[in-house]
């Protein structure tokens, strides 16, 4: 396992470097410049020159890249052009907020989707299965901003039960002090990912139920609930682990739309604003975060797979 982890970590480093080179190149080959975007279209040539010199943008690209990597390795991602704050501070502030929002909604979605999918598989083609299928597809096809607004209209505007805005506290502790504000955004995101997960669980459980070992389990005299718990559940969740690993990066990339609907500034909005204003330091740092998260997510999925499925053993030698 150790050798496997080392090898995968090596691969991960290569992938992250690749991501950085690619983002760096893309940003700089795009038409327009950071100076114009930051200073406005009327900025004079001198001001642009000063801006470029101050931010090192007049140096050759490879040199800029080397500087960026050097500083990044020390945790210094520069200062945002538009927000005038250190990028590392911006991310340190926003990342936990997203991790809380999306982590909670993914966990909740799983908690509902797994029993729902298994239930549908067991009652395959029954009326209940069809109803749940329709519900899942409706949720899946509904845009999340629309869904969010719908919830706000109902619970905040009509019923006045829940706040329409997410908590504005900066720290996670502050947010948790008043969790009511989190309810609507979490519910919105949960319902959106619930649909996908439940479909995966359903189809995976259907194929597990058709396995010979399920019949063997019944032939032992196990009750149906025991068969499901002991032999169907774990085997049906195996393929879901891969999907989960691919979903993990969302925890740090944030959800632009939900963030803007509920006014919950997180990584998604940060990235969006940086992209429109050509805020190079923020763009580079966020891409790096996403790259790392993706690589770590799939690595975790593979490791989890190895733990859950005894047939997969890394480094059997």
């Amino acid at each position: 396992m150790t050798a496997y982890l080392l090898r995968r970590t090596g691969q991960a480093v290569v992938v992250v470097i690749g991501v950085m080179v690619l983002t760096f190149a893309l940003i700089h080959f795009e038409p327009g410049s950071a100076a114009r975007a930051t200073l406005g279209t009327r900025a004079t040539a001198e001001r642009i020159a000063v801006f470029n010199a101050a931010n090192g943008l007049n140096r050759p690209l490879p040199a800029q890249f080397v500087t960026f990597v050097k500083q990044a390795l020390q945790g210094d991602f520069g200062t945002s052009y538009s927000l005038h704050q250190p990028v590392s501070a911006l991310i340190a502030q926003r990342l936990p907020r997203d991790a809380l929002l999306l982590g909670l909604s993914i966990l909740l979605a799983l908690a509902v989707a797994v029993p729902m999918g298994v239930y549908q598989a067991v009652r395959r083609d029954s009326a209940a299965d069809h109803v749940l299928t329709v519900v899942a597809f409706t949720l899946y096809s509904m845009p999340d901003f629309f869904f969010g607004l719908l919830l706000v209209a109902l619970f905040s505007v009509q019923l006045h039960i829940l706040p329409s805005q997410a908590p504005q506290a900066v720290s996670v502790g502050g947010i948790l002090a008043d969790p009511r504000g989190l309810v609507l955004p979490v519910v919105t995101l949960t319902l959106v990912s619930l649909a996908g997960f439940s479909r995966y669980v359903r189809s995976s459980a259907i194929s597990t139920l058709a396995q010979d070992y399920v019949l063997v389990a019944r032939a032992k005299g196990l009750a149906e609930s025991q068969v499901l718990r002991r032999h169907v559940l774990r085997n049906s969740l195996l393929p879901v682990v891969t999907i989960l690993g691919l979903t993990a990066p969302a925890i740090v990339t944030g959800a632009v739309i939900a963030e803007s609907v509920f006014n919950y500034p997180g990584m998604g909005l940060l990235f969006y604003q940086a992209a429109t204003s050509k805020d190079y330091p923020v763009l580079l740092a966020s891409t790096l975060v996403v790259g790392v998260a993706t690589v770590v997510g799939s690595l975790l999925a593979d490791v989890a797979y190895g733990i859950l499925d005894p047939r997969i053993r890394y480094d059997r030698d």
Binding site: R7, A219, L222
Partner: protein
């Protein structure tokens, strides 16, 4: 009072398409210590009968009123689910067909075996675990305690089936239902598992229901036979009585259509035309009437009652008397020099009348490509059926073939690369119009060898030569052209045809790849191929899933024939097929061979199938050819102990022959091909092995013309050493 008393058991399954009448009015009784056999082809209700007894019907399934299943006098039909669960896995247990899929891959076998113990007996986890150890010991798994924490994938197929039997036996059930328990296993392991079931039955005083399609298994392992057809009992009798005096035409045909070792392999196998009826809407009258040669009007209107006396009952208006007589193999005198004359003659006669027409029409006019190619003249169409060149160059020759696959996984520095020794120095040759049969247990390298022969895989050493040209020396276009002469038929007729291509497209594809003929000619050729394998032309517009398994295998054959190859390598061509369909496909293969002068390499684990088709047989063990010779020599006068063991393991559909069997199937299973034993690779399982076998690798020695075996202590005296015979497999005798 019988232990198990089943009366008028009727099971129906409601599906979206209607009600399937899966089991109809089945009655039998079973005493403790007795083995009852439910025998028949797939889809005839055997498994469904077993599942009905367990109360394990699929969704929509139900047992009809009037049915009764009594265990020790206690009625099980209509028992509340809770009560029935207490019977399942406790009083009645079941073993299923496929050990590879019947164990939960994520749980250790110890936990899985202890599970029914914990469920049915009030005991601690530790006690259940102890019981699992005992059960594993009972089924003969070595070092059971150490095996407890193994996961299923760490066990071989035979070991897994032992674990599943242990699981069924853990609570010492009174009735064990074994549903095709050895069908997915090698013939050697089959013999071991059947012996195991018989011994635990005797030791525990259990009653057993053995569900099987195999007449050989029936003859050797069952006390009373119940033949099922289309959900009904067609005939029931004591096993000896059944095999000597069967009365139902279905029983007779079922037995006759099985190729067997003790039978003259020259004739066509009797077949059962058609397929079993659809149980959604079974025909009125006798359900077998449609396929029965003796059927009359009465059979089609009036349902025959199961009647008879002395415990022998049959449901037929026109019963037959006993089995079709078996044509005994022609026994040549013991010192015969020539192989049996039969197959070759039949082939020659046929090809003398057919070849020119066939070959010309097969080529068609629009096929100029080959004439300009660099191929020797002998491969052109018209000359194709002439005997092989006088120079004695065999059509296909394998020399010292070696294929090794690296073991997957990380390679630690400083450690040698580990390889699977799939094929280790195999040589043999194939003459025009001849069939070479390759037999051996799974994992012996026979499929790899087949792939090497047709060029789907390249050898690490050694050569495959077609007409004296080394295939390994050819590249690109020349190789592709050569490939036209070599085709393959695969085992699984379901996965070897692209499900999204129509049959017409499947048959035209090889012609398109090699740009043979115009589009019109290709279509005509496809229609011709369909006729040749006995399928209607309209089938060209259908998709593979619209055909039955046997029909798909015919399509596979037609595809292999499309480019009029000279050699067809058939890897387990009939092992996925039902008994009666198997006979049809075997007959078809023989007919096609005779019509086209084809040469076959038939790969199979089933010695009887190979015996039926092959002129010569090669026995493979762990990558080596341990014995080669004429089919008759190998089957009647084996020299290698492994061959003899394989022969002993094959169940013969004759109870007397089964009882009289001498010799034993090899014990255990083949060792790991990553680290094959030194010297003779078979020595670890050989009853005759001595120290020399470990030290020295036996060289092939001649035991007769064309008969060679590599063994230090052969079962027969080898021919005196001749200077040129040492060290090589002797050449094929020319026929």
């Amino acid at each position: 009072m019988p232990l198990l008393d089943v009366r008028h058991l009727t099971t129906r399954i409601t599906t979206g398409r209607g009600t399937v009448r899966a089991v109809e009015d089945v009655s039998f009784t079973l005493e403790a210590g007795e083995t009852l056999g439910l025998v028949g082809e797939s889809g005839c209700g055997k498994s469904m009968t077993g599942l009905s007894l367990m109360g394990l019907l699929p969704p929509g399934g139900g047992i009809a009123p009037g049915s009764s299943v009594r265990l020790d006098g206690r009625e099980l039909v209509g028992l509340p689910a809770r009560e029935l669960r207490r019977v399942r896995g406790n009083d009645i247990a079941m073993v299923f067909q496929d050990p590879m899929t019947s164990l939960d891959p994520t749980k250790t076998i110890g936990r899985q075996i202890a599970e029914p113990v914990l469920l049915h007996q009030r005991c601690s986890r530790a006690a259940a675990r102890e019981r699992a150890v005992e059960a594993l010991g009972l089924v003969g798994l070595p070092q059971p305690r150490r095996r407890l924490d193994d996961y299923p994938h760490q066990l071989s197929g035979g070991q897994r089936q032992r674990a599943l039997i242990a699981m069924a036996l853990a609570n010492e059930p009174r009735v064990l239902i074994a549903d095709e328990p050895t069908t997915a296993l090698d013939v050697t392991v089959q013999a071991q598992i059947l012996a195991l079931l018989a011994s635990v039955r005797a030791r525990l005083g259990m009653a057993m229901i053995l569900i099987t399609h195999d007449m050989g298994v029936t003859a050797g392992n069952i006390d009373r036979v119940y033949v099922m057809y289309a959900g009904r009992i067609a005939e029931s009798a004591g096993t000896d009585r059944f095999f000597h005096d069967m009365r139902h035409p279905y029983s007779q045909r079922l037995l006759a259509s099985v190729p067997r070792l003790d039978q003259d392999p020259l004739g066509e196998l009797p077949t059962i035309p058609g397929l079993p009826p659809d149980l959604l809407d079974p025909p009125a009258g006798c359900r077998f009437a449609e396929r029965c040669p003796y059927a009359t009007q009465r059979c089609r209107t009036e349902e025959p009652v199961l009647r008879g006396e002395h415990g022998h009952k049959f449901a037929c208006w026109h019963p037959v008397r006993g089995p079709v007589p078996v044509a005994a193999p022609r026994r040549a005198p013991a010192d015969a020099t020539a192989p049996g004359p039969g197959t070759a003659t039949t082939g020659d006669e046929m090809s003398a009348t057919l070849p020119a027409k066939r070959a010309v029409s097969a080529r068609g006019p629009g096929q100029p490509a080959r004439a300009g190619g660099p191929l020797p003249a002998t491969t052109t169409a018209v000359e194709r059926d002439e005997p092989a060149p006088a120079a004695g160059v065999p059509l296909l020759e394998a020399r010292d073939l070696v294929r090794e696959y690296p073991v997957r996984g990380a390679r630690l520095p400083g450690r040698a690369r580990r390889v699977v020794h799939a094929v280790s120095g195999v040589s043999f040759s194939l003459a025009q119009g001849e069939t070479f049969g390759l037999v051996g247990e799974s994992g012996c390298g026979k499929s790899t060898l087949g792939r090497l022969l047709v060029g789907l895989d390249r050898p690490d050493a050694g050569t495959v030569a077609l007409d004296g040209t080394d295939l390994g020396s050819l590249r690109g276009r020349a190789l592709r052209r050569r490939r036209r002469d070599l085709h393959m038929v695969f085992q699984d007729p379901f996965s070897s045809l692209d499900p999204r291509m129509r049959v017409g497209a499947i048959l035209r594809e090889p012609l398109q790849i090699h740009s043979v003929g115009t589009a019109g000619e290709q279509r005509a050729r496809a229609a011709e191929l369909m006729a040749e394998v006995g399928l209607p032309e309209r089938g060209l517009d259908l998709f593979p899933h619209e055909f039955s398994g046997g029909q798909r295998q015919r399509i596979g054959l037609a595809r292999a024939l499309a480019l009029t190859p000279r050699v067809i390598v058939a890897d387990e061509p009939v092992s996925a097929l039902d008994v009666s369909v198997r006979a049809q496909v075997l007959n078809l293969m023989k007919r096609l061979q005779a019509a086209h002068g084809l040469s076959y390499v038939v790969i199979s684990h089933d010695l009887a199938v190979v015996r039926h088709l092959a002129d010569r047989i090669g026995v493979m063990y762990l990558g080596r050819l341990v014995e080669t010779g004429s089919a008759e020599d190998v089957c009647e006068r084996p020299a290698h102990p492994y061959t003899a063991g394989l022969l002993a393991a094959v169940p013969v559909p004759d109870p007397a022959a089964e009882r009289a069997k001498r010799g034993h199937a090899p014990s255990g299973e083949p060792p790991d091909p990553v680290a094959p034993p030194s010297g003779c690779r078979f020595r670890t399982r050989c009853p005759l092995a001595q120290a020399r076998c470990a030290d020295e690798e036996p060289a092939p020695r001649a035991f007769g013309p064309g008969h060679a075996a590599a063994c230090h202590f052969p079962l027969r005296a080898p021919l005196p050493e001749q200077p040129d015979a040492a060290g090589v497999v002797p050449q094929v005798p020319t026929k």
